[in-house]
Symmetry: C2
Subunit: 209 residues, 2 copies
């Protein structure tokens, strides 16, 4: 088994943190996204979508999506549970993880990719070229700030995003917050619960994985 | 337990199909999205995000996201497995389910909501108003068509989206294809595998749930 990774990119970082929390070591292969290695014929043969992370099994099957990769490791090594311990808890974690993507990570990606000078004509990852949409960048910034406030309210009465236990929802939210830093969006001063949480999850050894 | 539902909306339909495939009956409460019931103080108290579906447990906890709701039912009633039977299978199903959302359902939603006359100022569901972005509607149509082709290639050598067994990925993809019909996007003639699959999954009794 091996993991196609890129040390500087947000999405593979989510998998690395997940594995670090589980104490699982997987050999990694670095893909140089900055220099376009994801668009080479060699990497397209591995993942036609030209993205990382990709988990490759020994039988050659591959999975190219963060939560799917984490689902595999959660199934083969349930402890510590990072995707919920019982049925209701699993559902609550899945719901927050989903929000951290759809209202967090993808929204920051909208803001970043539709405004970055170096990404003209590359508003989306993947093999196809799409023009930047400036209005989408602007909307992304507004929505990311709104999601900081959603997270802050959620954290008012609990230690972690989905409850009293650290989970994949914390991983996705941590990576979203740090990714937002790329476009100079920081947690508002008033979001004291989110600031406390961010300091706590950033201090875990897994955060540097 | 009860499910806040809307008989005409794509996302709650995914849950209804999932439950029908499991043979699980849950009492439903219809929310009249067309007449704005989701924005009433009563419904905001149930889900501040103003969306359906919402699953409400007897202890009052609520889950307002499709895959999270399905995760709960898969955990309490594993048969028939709709989210993968073993660790690798679970991951493969999760990856396709994710693509059916991010490259399918959300993309059709972009195309629909950013162009529909009746949704001016309402480009996103939820409590906040966002202006329509015409370029996003146009991009959505192009991407939805591209995803039809991705699905067609995937179905060339297997019966269902994620393998030989019907799964939640088929449910999300079916609802995406039917949702695309709202904006007059139909499966291209040349996508014969996708057409064969669409006929098969539409013929299952669950499709009318």
């Amino acid at each position: 088994m091996k993991l196609y990774d890129c040390a500087t990119a947000p999405n593979p970082r989510r998998v690395r943190i997940f594995l670090a929390e589980k104490g699982i070591a997987v050999p990694t292969v670095q893909v140089d996204l900055r220099n376009g290695e994801q668009f080479t014929p060699e990497f397209r043969a591995i993942n036609p979508e030209c993205t990382v992370p990709v988990l490759e099994f020994d039988d050659g099957r591959r999975i190219a999506e963060v939560v799917a990769i984490c689902t595999y490791f959660e199934a083969i090594q349930p402890d510590p549970a990072l995707m919920g311990a019982d049925a209701q808890d699993r559902a609550i974690v899945a719901a927050w993880q989903h929000r951290a993507e759809r209202e967090g990570l993808w929204v920051v990606a909208d803001a970043f990719r539709n405004a970055a000078r170096g990404l003209k004509g590359r508003a989306l990852p993947g093999p196809d070229d799409y023009e930047q949409i400036p209005a989408l960048a602007e909307r992304g910034r507004a929505r990311a700030t709104r999601f900081f406030e959603v997270l802050d309210r959620a954290l008012a009465d609990r230690a972690f995003i989905a409850g009293d236990r650290y989970s994949i929802a914390d991983i996705s939210a941590l990576v979203m917050v740090d990714f937002a830093g790329w476009i100079k969006l920081t947690i508002p001063e008033g979001c004291t619960h989110l600031r406390r949480w961010h300091a706590a999850v950033s201090a875990r050894p897994s955060a540097t994985a």
